[in-house]
Symmetry: D2
Subunit: 138 residues, 4 copies
């Protein structure tokens, strides 16, 4: 763990009381951790806006009975070996699969790859979760 | 202005340095104001989730040549006199209007009214901006 | 009104039935209008991504007792005469004001101006609603 | 695959031309698939709003050197055996881990579990991707 520093924030008294209430209601035991989480969320947002190296996950729902789809998904991922870190597959029903693909690259590259997967015939849903390599978060 | 209190936040040194950079890059002159803005944003989000009394604005783009639309918009707003605080109209082009309607009510009521306006024939676009009465922000 | 054309969409039978249910539940009387609204929403999203000329509104909540704030907001808006189309002011309480500013410019310019207003001391909340000039929506 | 039906949509000629352009620019080969994707996205959004049984993924970034965190994450997941379908772990750096957890439950339960993970000391970032069991998508 890194060395901790203490930072002082000036805040209007009523807003301070609302902050304390918000910390409790959100289930944080600790005001500092609450504020740090807000700051880290801003950092990740900024990383994506500035097209930095980030990490993210794509959640796909698809019908594995569509001919050739599994192959096309595999080929697409292999063609981006440096970007795709891992993929996890879950069987949702007789027809339906979920596949979650963990990616690390520049933000724009991850967005582009997400769009390519969304468009594949048989892919019914694709959602990108923006995250971070963690380098800027600690 | 309310009395200011000083609140101490403990934060890892590298994260502290990133916070300072973020404050500067975002153009804030003041770290406290940056953190207060993050807190206030959380408060507004919470007000909407908990269906509290809030304020919001609906931005409509519509084609005023659609027969009866202006009347229907006016009637709808008059039917919610207690909710609609003001409406501003701008002429975007020969055909196109923008109307921005300021609302104050419970969150669910504002969402419902937005959906009703979006569905009107001739309304081409409707977007809700979630804001606050300000009571919890100072 | 423009000439209407009829477009044919092929769709799986169960998904078709869910679409019909969704149209009814959303309160649309008309499946075509529901689909057109989805398409127009995509068009506006694309306009913002591609930094096209768009329209948008900024909703501010602020404390008008903060010395000089009203002047700074006015000066900022006057400095962008070509961009600011209109501004509407509402008194939320003894202290609190809402001001809704209608803007027309390139997407990046509107975002930048929103950020500048958010940072002003006394501005407690700022939210941008992305909309359109309407040119691409009919 | 389900039986396909053909659905007719009436649309203004200029909007039709913009739809065709949007389909091409988005890289879809097929207008029907583009519209079906828009409809499915609405269905998933509705499932989450109505607190239906859904699927989703939580992406965590955390520092595995924080004492006890790995145990707490494991315990939390085991306590929700019926909800957690799978978890995938990736090593981002010497300190940083990413863990992606696939969940299936009611929407509110998944949101609650996400919040609980976000608050754990050492968890630096948590992001929920809303998806679907796929039952309503085909």
């Amino acid at each position: 763990m890194s060395e901790l520093v203490r930072v002082s924030i000036s805040i209007e008294k009523p807003l301070y009381e609302r902050l304390e209430k918000l910390v409790r209601q959100s289930g944080y035991t600790n005001r500092s951790e609450f504020v740090r989480d807000l700051v880290r969320r801003q950092i990740v947002q900024r990383e994506w806006e500035n097209d930095r190296e980030v990490a993210g996950t794509v959640t796909l729902v698809y019908d594995h009975h569509v001919r050739g789809l599994t192959d096309r998904l595999t080929t697409l991922q292999h063609g981006h070996r440096g970007v795709v870190l891992a993929a996890t597959h879950v069987h949702l029903s007789h027809h339906m699969c979920m596949e979650v693909i963990i990616l690390r690259s520049r933000a724009s590259e991850i967005r582009k790859l997400t769009d390519e997967m969304r468009k594949l015939r048989g892919v019914l849903y694709a959602e990108l979760a923006t995250a971070s390599t963690g380098e800027e978060l600690h």
